[in-house]
């Protein structure tokens, strides 16, 4: 038989069973605990790593890999399938799943979805000019640069993650109560272990699949309106640059997982009310029906180098949302800072002397 030693959640001392209270009692700090509460606490304290989410790339799952002998491996049961060269898809004779042959065999990789450009190039230029307007710290010579020539329409490869998630999280919370008597002020802090479990579904969480684009830029121009999502059609690509993804879906998963975990925590945390402080203790999440899709989204891109630093601006080619980082004129920064400070000091001093200096 294994003996379990229970430690006090408050002070860490060993607990003893109190027959009178029928609870576990701490001789050190005097707190008493129900066994159920202690079990829940022990569970929450376990150093469990965040669980991995499992995704399935639909097209890849359907596509069979070609062997050196010219046969194909069924992605479902790993059986070898013999097909003709012209076969596009077939049904696995062993597991009866539909297996796509052509896409993999030809080495082509078509996106599942795309959103065509809706913002014109002229409109994109105007948005950039508006973005620069009224920026007092923008270097004068930067405004006159020919960076507009570097404007290019670019279909950015994205991985879209879908799943039905089940999140199971614990929070350590506190609630305080204060009162006073004639001599002392008292503050009682009560500690709780709050457990929340919930289910939610995510639809097309985008993660940038290109190393050319900075993640901060591609995330900043979100969201895209998925109402405009269309099946891939090469006709939409005419006149725009398009790159195949160079970040594998497996690598992009990490970022998707991070965002899903944070969203699930925020959703569960919103149900923890009536406490002064809420700190997440344990986060677990499982994904069902995980699916990854490959999509191309439209982005107007400006790139320029100013003072040996690369500046990238992007406009959402569907919604027109503009993001980017403009260079800062340090001279102007200090000029305004010193000027405002000097002016403020003079005005405040004058008012201060009139009001508090004994002049009036």
């Amino acid at each position: 038989m294994d003996f379990v030693e229970y430690k006090c959640p408050c002070c860490g001392a060993a607990l003893k069973f109190s027959s009178g209270a029928q609870k576990l009692k701490c001789d050190s700090c005097g707190n008493k605990y129900d066994l159920e509460a202690l079990e829940a606490w022990r569970e929450a304290e376990k150093d469990a790593p965040e669980s991995e989410l499992h995704w399935e790339y639909q097209k890849e799952a359907q596509c069979a890999k070609r062997t050196e002998e010219g046969k194909y491996i069924c992605p479902s049961c790993a059986a070898e399938i013999e097909v003709d060269e012209d076969t596009v898809s077939t049904r696995c004779p062993y597991c009866d799943n539909v297996v796509v042959i052509k896409a993999t065999a030809s080495g082509e990789f078509e996106p599942d979805f795309m959103i065509p450009f809706q913002v014109e190039a002229g409109d994109a230029r105007q948005r950039l000019e508006s973005f620069c307007k009224g920026k007092r710290l923008l270097p004068r010579d930067f405004k006159n640069r020919s960076y507009l020539k570097n404007l290019k329409g670019y279909y950015v490869p994205y991985w879209l993650f879908d799943c039905d998630a089940r999140a199971d999280m614990s929070f350590r919370t506190t609630r305080t109560r204060a009162w006073s008597d004639s001599e002392y002020d008292y503050v009682e802090t009560s500690y709780y272990l709050v457990h929340r479990c919930g289910e939610m579904s995510f639809y097309h969480v985008p993660v940038d699949g290109s190393t050319q684009m900075e993640d901060a830029t591609t995330e900043s121009i979100e969201p895209f309106d998925y109402g405009g999502l269309k099946a891939f059609n090469p006709a939409y690509l005419a006149g725009y640059e398009t790159d195949k993804y160079d970040v594998e879906a497996e690598k992009a998963e990490a970022r998707a997982k991070e965002r899903l975990y944070n969203t699930a925590e925020a959703a569960l945390r919103s149900t923890v009310v009536g406490y002064e402080s809420v700190v997440a203790k344990r986060r677990q999440m499982d994904a069902k029906s995980g699916k990854i899709s490959y999509a191309l989204f439209p982005v107007w891109l400006f790139e320029t180098i100013y003072n040996k630093k690369k500046y990238q601006f992007a406009i959402n080619g569907q919604t027109g949302k503009m993001v980017g980082e403009l260079p800062v004129d340090k001279g102007a920064y200090w000029k305004y800072l010193c000027g405002f400070t000097a002016l403020g000091t003079a005005v405040c001093s004058l008012i201060g002397i009139l009001l508090f200096g004994g002049v009036l």
């Binding site: 959640p9 408050c10 700090c29 707190n31 159920e36 509460a37 606490w41 920026k135 710290l137 039905d164 006073s180 004639s182 001599e183 002020d185 008292y186 009682e188 802090t189 500690y191 709780y192 272990l193 709050v194 457990h195 929340r196 479990c197 919930g198 939610m200 995510f202 097309h204 969480v205 993640d215 901060a216 830029t217 900043s220 979100e222 969201p223 998707a256 965002r259 944070n262 969203t263 925020a266 959703a267 149900t271 993001v323 980082e325 800062v328 920064y333 305004y336 800072l337 405002f340 400070t341 002016l343 403020g344 003079a346 005005v347 405040c348 001093s349 201060g352 002397i353 200096g357 004994g358």
Partner: protein
């Protein structure tokens, strides 16, 4: 002969004149001596200062001396019988009070004693002013006196001094001065008194003496006003310019994916709130100091004087 007769008749005639002159001289001396002692008696018409004839003053009786304070050899505005000031400090204060006298014609005096003999310090101050140990002729004045053994302080006004140092003014000055007195910073207290007296006299001279309707506000040092102005301006400027700088970069990573959560898909499947333990902390409440005399509660004011303990 005629000449001798003339001289004799002249001496005869001069005798009553000389006698009269001697009598006049004696009378003059007597009148002068009484005049010196009775000079402030003209102030008795100011009402509060009037000491009715026949009323005996216990402070006078208790001292058993002809003078409450030893008269100064020359002119002085500070009599430090308790020895709280260095000679340098005394000179500085004297100079300030002398300037006030020259400017406003009001005798601003400071008196310290070890023991004034008990009773009402304001009454004692009136006697001192009547004796005029300062060697300065003035009908109008204000006196700050402190007695170390009783820890009494008093501000008493004389003549038109009451206009500048009305009840509000004396209590306001008392509030400020008593803080330094309580901390044993006597020179600072007297220096404050002299400074404040100048300001109150100036306000009265302008026709707007400080009062509850026209309250005195302690002026802050210029360097402090400029320093605070600089700090505030720098903080506000930093907020403005840093805001501009931030607006130059609109790239923000999105750590959540709430907008991709299917509407209505989130629902709780399990929920529990388990109480673990509680802790109680306590802190001593600040005690109400009943002896605190701030706000004038520890002061006593008459129409011409204000006194209290320090």
């Amino acid at each position: 002969m005629e000449r001798m007769e003339w001289r004799r008749s002249l001496l005869y005639a001069a005798r009553p004149v000389v006698l009269g002159g001697l009598i006049a001289l004696v009378l003059c001396l007597t009148v002068n001596f009484q005049g010196l002692a009775a000079e402030p008696a003209t102030l008795e018409s100011v009402g509060e200062l009037a000491v009715p004839e026949g009323v005996e003053d216990p402070a006078l009786e208790d001292t058993g001396e002809s003078f409450l304070l030893k008269p100064a050899e020359g002119q002085t505005w500070v009599i430090d019988q308790a020895g709280l000031l260095t000679s340098e400090e005394e000179n500085l204060l004297n100079e300030k009070c002398r300037q006030l006298y020259d400017t406003y014609g009001v005798l601003v005096t400071i008196v310290t004693v070890d023991d004034f003999g008990g009773g009402d310090i304001l009454e004692w101050q009136k006697r001192v002013f009547m004796e005029n140990p300062f060697g300065v002729k003035a009908k109008d004045g204000v006196m700050l006196a402190i007695s170390m053994s009783e820890r009494d302080w008093g501000i008493q006004t004389f003549g038109n001094g009451q206009r500048a140092f009305n009840t509000y003014g004396r209590e306001r000055i008392g509030e400020i001065v008593v803080e330094s007195l309580s901390e044993g910073e006597y020179y600072e207290a007297f220096d404050d008194f002299a400074e404040l007296s100048g300001k109150f006299l100036k306000a009265a001279e302008k026709g707007k003496p400080y009062s509850s309707e026209h309250p005195y506000r302690a002026s802050a040092p210029i360097w402090l006003i400029i320093g605070i102005s600089f700090g505030l301006s720098l903080a506000v400027s930093l907020i403005i310019v840093t805001g501009w700088k931030k607006s130059m970069n609109t790239q923000v990573r999105k750590n959540e994916a709430g907008q991709y959560l299917k509407q209505g898909s989130f629902h709780l499947t399990r929920s529990s709130d388990v109480f673990l333990y509680h802790t109680v902390s306590r802190s001593q409440r600040p005690k109400q100091d009943s002896s605190n005399s701030s706000g004038g509660s520890g002061m006593h004011s008459t129409s011409s004087g204000t006194s209290g303990k320090f």
